[in-house]
Amino acid sequence: MRYAMAIDTRKCVGCSDCVVSCQTENNVPIGYCRDWVVEVMAGTYPELEIELRSERCNHCSNAPCVRCCPTGASHFEKGGIVTVTHKKCIGCGACIESCPYDARYSHPEGYVDKCTFCLHRVVDEQLPACVSVCPTKCMYFGDLDNPNSSVSNALKNRKYKVLAPEAGTQPQIYYLT
């Protein structure tokens, strides 16, 4: 099993519903976020292009944050989901430094926090909050090892990319372009 997400940048309108739904689902304090939206513009008027991307932890298969964690708080769960055991975390911040995606933040309660792919929902066979709420339905989540999962299907017929492939982290968020 390999959980992954595909995000269609052609459909995303950058509304940030993914951000606010994550906050309310996961009780992320105001002023912090586990996911965010990036707008990249190219060209000069009037020949322009915009790419809108919802970004978050890439749940890398080769995750530097897991490797560098001195206490084992950062670890892999079922399906390759990377999570942090808050009680084990000493807040040293090594993982924050190691992440090429800047996906982690220091929670005011002293531990490091980040996207969990909504593990608590996934074990209950529900989609992550951001995927379930997105008004443009631009996010697909599921098991890459299952050729019929929505994420596998999304990747079948479209070009896609990952962020910072040069970091060698094997990220599991795929952007359909």
């Binding site: 906050q23 009780n27 105001i30 009037p46 709420v133």
Partner: protein
């Protein structure tokens, strides 16, 4: 000069004495406000209770579920899968609606204006004292001037409750800025053409369209939920999208064609499209022959309105005009030239929207799959109450013969009737303002404030200390939509539906629902017979029975769908199709417009252009905010804290502006923005215009997160071009220049 009604910051109040939110545990036990709601009304899911609601953050009214955690606190809101407005997916504002409930800056207790030394202040009051004072003032206005002199300005759900109060009291002057400041022109134009207004939500069949044309309408930045969803599906299917906008909007970035039109020239483009579609015989001939009148007049009218003619006006090259016209015709009748929503731009807006309607008619899209469907709604019966008294005059008379085609009351006209004028027999002396922040909603803020100074009495009902509350004589704190019952939602859609809003938690602080406020006031005015029930849930129960359902069922399901009963979704080609126009046909030449003394066919007129050094001010929406009402919502402020002014890099170079620099904007009338705004240097806008998101630049310090953040477009809109057809306030004829150092330095 000392103002009669000095602006009071609610934050000036002492901290003591403010009611504190009641313990969440108390409310389950039989409060009369909660009516017959109980935990059984919701459903227990994973240890959470959920209660149905429909959203009040915007007018789309998506139905959702409010989840309560073990502590009895609202923890999240998600969409209701059954609801056609949202299909189970709320937009960021709906998801963030929780922030409206949690906002610690909410109005907490009734407030009464009183003199203090040389100045004025608010003091906290009990509901009984505040309501007694409101009733006394209403009585006085009725005795002195007649009840018609009382006006209700409203937006959203409180309107119906307070509207009934006003009607019982003897006034029909009930007005929502959503008409003359927003969608009025398109309703009049479509009614003149097709015999039916567009209505809300718009019956655009984006789901099945093959070509979507957006003119200044930025779906995706406005989160009109199911339209955004359907547009996304359309993108998936490779549907052609044509976006006409001086700004490279999000929708433009998803489009096959972006037409970066010179602002204020849209009507010329529309007429040239009509010219091409007629002259190249691209129109739906059978449809026009069968359903329309006035084709020959139209053909002659647009004879010379060639793409070459329009090129000089719009800056859109002729081949692009022809190519896009061909795209539309190829998709016909599954094509939508979207009527837009906020369409009060240049004062000739009804005529521009007439051109939109005519174009749709030529393409055969009205009443066709992939064009416009015929939406249907249920008519919710009014709970039996005595007949309302007949007012001696209404907003219609107050217009003094102006705006003959206004189908709904015109807010700016009622503000005008408030301004001191000896010769005006239709004097407005008192306002009830509920859920609308008039100083930011209405253009020409100074004019609105002048009218406020002329009032005998102003009562404001709101959840937040919006700027308007600072001018009130009495402020009444309304509880949020998450804490109250309201009318059933019965908006039209492909299939009719009903949605229930019920309280998910006890009202925080000392806030009350609008139905309770209206009923209490009615009783104090001796009008209790118009509110012959104890709790609003009784009204809902009675209404729901007429549809064969019940409050108990609706509390479990939230949304109930009903089958269509008033005809098919699209034109039945085999049956006779009647349009509710004078001729019974689609009127390309409008006899109604002509009968009212207006041109039966739209023509382009040039609008003033910015003087040297000035840029046209255009404004719009961000997906995470609604008007000025969400600017203090903690969850939504987190997503967008302030607006910025979009400036083309060439303009930035010319004006010496740097990215992220703060500037003040000064308009053509010398009005300077109260607060500075950040410069966003971007290729996404033409060099003759600047753009900002509406709803920022709040003045009230008690809106701690919103105060002073960004600039308000409303205060810079002092040139208002009124649509003579229906009174709409055209707001896009304002020009601004940049001021780089603080113009109010001496005052700091």
């Amino acid at each position: 000069m000392q103002n009669r009604r000095e602006f009071i910051r609610i934050s000036a109040l002492g901290a003591g004495g403010v009611a504190i939110g009641l313990s969440s545990l108390q409310w389950t036990k039989g409060s009369s406000l909660l009516g017959n709601m109980s935990a059984a009304g919701g459903r227990n899911i994973g240890g959470l209770n959920r209660f149905p609601t429909y959203c009040e953050i915007c007018f789309w009214k998506c139905a959702g579920w409010v989840y309560i955690n073990e502590d009895g606190k609202i923890c999240k809101i998600v969409g209701n899968d059954t609801d056609p407005h949202c299909n189970g997916r709320l937009c960021p504002r709906g998801t963030g609606g929780i922030g409206m409930y949690n906002d610690e800056d909410r109005l907490k207790t009734p407030l009464i204006r009183e003199k203090k030394g040389d100045g004025q202040t608010f003091r906290e009051a009990s509901w009984d004292e505040a309501l007694t004072l409101v009733a006394a003032n209403m009585k006085q206005i009725a005795e002195k001037y007649g009840p018609e002199s009382m006006v209700l300005f409203n937006h959203g759900s409180p309107g119906h409750h307070l509207g009934n109060l006003l009607k019982a009291y003897g006034s029909s002057n009930i007005v929502a800025p959503s008409y003359a400041q927003c969608r009025g022109p398109r309703e009049v134009a479509f009614e003149a053409t097709f015999g039916s207004p567009v209505g809300s939500p718009e019956p655009t069949d984006i789901r099945d369209t093959r070509c979507l044309v957006l003119i200044g309408s930025h779906i995706g930045e406005n989160m009109h939920n199911n339209q955004v969803q359907e547009m996304s599906d359309a993108i998936d299917k490779g549907t052609t999208i044509i976006t006409v906008d001086p700004r490279f909007s999000t929708a433009a970035s998803k489009s096959k064609f972006w037409l970066p039109i010179k602002p204020a020239t849209d009507l010329a483009l529309l007429l040239s499209w009509i010219h091409v579609i007629i002259n190249e015989e691209l129109y739906d001939k059978a449809y026009i022959a069968k359903y329309a009148t006035g084709f020959d007049e139209l053909k002659k009218h647009v004879e010379n309105m060639t793409p070459e003619w329009a090129y000089g006006i719009t800056t859109i090259p002729p081949d692009v005009i022809r190519k896009t016209a061909k795209e539309m015709a190829d998709a016909s009748p599954s094509v939508i030239v979207h009527p837009g929503r906020h369409v009060t731009w240049y004062g000739d807006d009804t005529q521009r929207l007439r051109a939109v309607a005519i174009l749709n008619a030529l393409l055969g899209s009205w009443g066709r799959r992939g064009g416009f469907y015929f939406h249907e709604s249920l008519v919710v019966p009014e709970y039996p109450i005595p007949e309302f008294p007949k007012p001696r005059w209404s907003w219609k008379e107050a217009m003094n013969g102006k705006y003959p085609m206004a189908a709904l009351s015109v807010s700016n006209s009622l503000i005008e009737a408030t301004l001191p004028n000896k010769d005006n027999p239709y004097k407005v002396k008192g306002w009830i303002v509920a859920g609308t922040n008039l100083p930011l909603t209405m253009p020409d803020k100074e004019n609105t404030l002048k009218a406020i100074q002329a009032l005998d009495f102003l009562v404001v009902i709101d959840t937040m200390p919006m700027e308007i509350t600072g001018y009130a004589d009495v402020v009444l704190p309304e509880c949020t939509y998450l804490e109250r019952y309201d009318d059933l939602r019965a908006e039209p859609h492909r299939e009719p539906s009903l949605a229930l809003r019920m309280p998910s938690a006890k009202p925080m602080y000392d806030s009350k629902p609008a139905w309770w406020i209206a009923k209490q006031l009615a009783e104090k005015l001796g009008l209790g017979a118009y509110f012959p029930w104890k709790d609003f849930s009784e009204v809902l129960e009675w209404q729901l029975k007429t549809f064969g359902t019940s409050l108990a069922e609706m509390q479990k399901i939230g949304v109930k769908m009903f089958p269509r009963s008033k005809g098919p979704l699209y034109i039945d080609e085999t049956a006779v199709q009647e349009f509710k126009t004078a001729s019974g046909k689609i009127e390309l030449f409008s006899s109604l417009m002509a009968a009212n003394g207006f041109d039966g066919l739209p023509s382009y007129t040039a609008h003033p252009e910015p003087p040297e050094g000035f840029y046209r001010l255009i404004y719009g929406r961000a997906p995470m905010h609604t008007f000025s009402r969400t600017a203090n919502n903690p969850n939504l402020v987190d997503l967008m804290k302030e607006n910025s002014v979009w400036v083309n890099p060439k303009v930035a170079d010319l004006q010496g502006l740097k990215k992220d620099q703060y500037v003040w904007l000064e308009n053509q009338d010398g009005v300077v923005s109260s607060f500075p705004i950040k410069v966003r240097v971007t290729e996404r806008i033409r060099w003759d215009s600047v753009y900002m998101v509406h709803g920022f630049g709040h003045h009230d310090k008690n809106l701690k997160r919103a105060y002073g953040r960004g600039a308000s477009d409303s205060e810079l809109i002092t040139n208002v071009m009124i649509d003579p057809v229906m009174g709409g306030t055209g707001m896009r004829g304002n020009f601004v220049k940049f001021i780089t150092s603080n113009p109010r330095k001496e005052n700091v």
